[in-house]
């Protein structure tokens, strides 16, 4: 049953997985950047 589910529409499934991984990496990269900025940037920098 799992084999049938996996082989059905395999192309779209791989494409969707690719999108999911790229999106996750990109969004987490942005989040890490934001958190680093939040923790290191002094209050005076942020006002500018």
């Amino acid at each position: 049953m799992i084999k049938r589910w996996l082989t059905n529409n395999l192309g779209l499934k791989i494409l969707a997985l690719g999108f999911a991984v790229v999106t996750w990496i990109y969004v987490n990269g942005e989040l890490v950047k934001f958190r680093l900025y939040e923790s290191y940037a002094p209050q005076t920098w942020r006002q500018h």
């Binding site: 499934k13 997985l17 999108f19 999911a20 996750w24 990109y26 987490n28």
Partner: protein, 258 residues
């Protein structure tokens, strides 16, 4: 950090990726085979260029694409308006307020439809019937002639008899009633369709693409009987197979067919 917290933090990325995978897969399946799929491909190319420009530090390109994505929200809503409407309608009406027919009633209805369709097929009389499921077919019912009769093989045959004034267009069945005849269904805009496919086939595909209806169709040229669901033709070999598949589709099961 305790063990449970550690395990959760370790598997959290996988859970997030699986959820994103399911969402992306559903979106791709929804758009597959439609004109919007080509537009979606274009958007993906732009996204790839955007990511590359960020990675390689191409600032001019990055600035242009950032501005473009800013205004593209409106363009996205306009381009995908029919698909968004369709998707939201499906989401909102899925499995809600679905008045189900009793098993015996359903078997009798399928028998009546099958009997009519195979008699029409033998006479090579064209026929198109849309069976309403979750999404209401009110718009198409209004375009036709109201009937409101019990589903019977004789009535369906009379409607699709070539001399009948109602034989053009399609019949809508809702529950155990024939609601309207001579209804105008939307034509499929699937770009992969062959040019030789006739209007009745396109209408059968169109109504099942835009709503959750199941269509029953008899080709005027070949007398071939087909069932259509989600814009896809399901081959039907004989009347027994027809009844079994139609029953499954009516109950929203995935039919097992050869």
């Amino acid at each position: 950090m305790n063990t449970i917290e550690f395990i959760f933090l370790t598997i959290r990325p996988f859970i997030e990726i699986i959820i994103l995978w399911v969402i992306f897969y559903r979106i791709l399946v929804f758009f597959e085979g439609t004109r919007a799929f080509q537009v979606l491909k274009g958007i993906v190319y732009l996204l790839v260029i955007f990511l590359l420009s960020q990675l390689l530090g191409l600032e001019t390109l990055n600035w242009l694409l950032t501005k473009l994505f800013g205004i593209s929200i409106v363009a996205f809503l306009i381009i995908f308006q029919p698909e968004l409407r369709q998707g939201l309608a499906r989401l909102g009406q899925q499995y809600l307020f679905n008045i189900s027919l009793a098993e015996s009633e359903l078997a009798a209805l399928v028998e009546e439809i099958g009997s009519a369709v195979y008699k029409l097929s033998r006479r090579q009389a064209g026929c198109l019937i849309a069976i309403e499921r979750e999404i209401k077919l009110t718009t198409y019912i209004e375009s036709g002639v109201a009937i409101d009769s019990k589903v019977s093989a004789e009535i369906i045959q009379s409607i699709f008899s070539p001399l009948s004034p109602l034989h053009d267009g399609g019949v809508v069945i809702s529950g155990d009633r024939i609601v309207a005849a001579s209804c105008l269904f939307p034509l499929s805009e699937n770009p992969n369709l062959s040019k030789i496919i006739g209007t009745r086939h396109r209408a059968a595909m169109g109504v099942t693409e835009q709503t959750s209806a199941v269509a029953v169709m008899v080709s005027e040229e070949t007398g071939e009987v087909s069932l259509v669901s989600d814009g896809k033709f399901i081959p039907v070999i004989n009347k027994e197979k027809f009844s079994a598949i139609l029953k499954d589709l009516w109950l929203k099961k995935v039919p097992k067919h050869d």
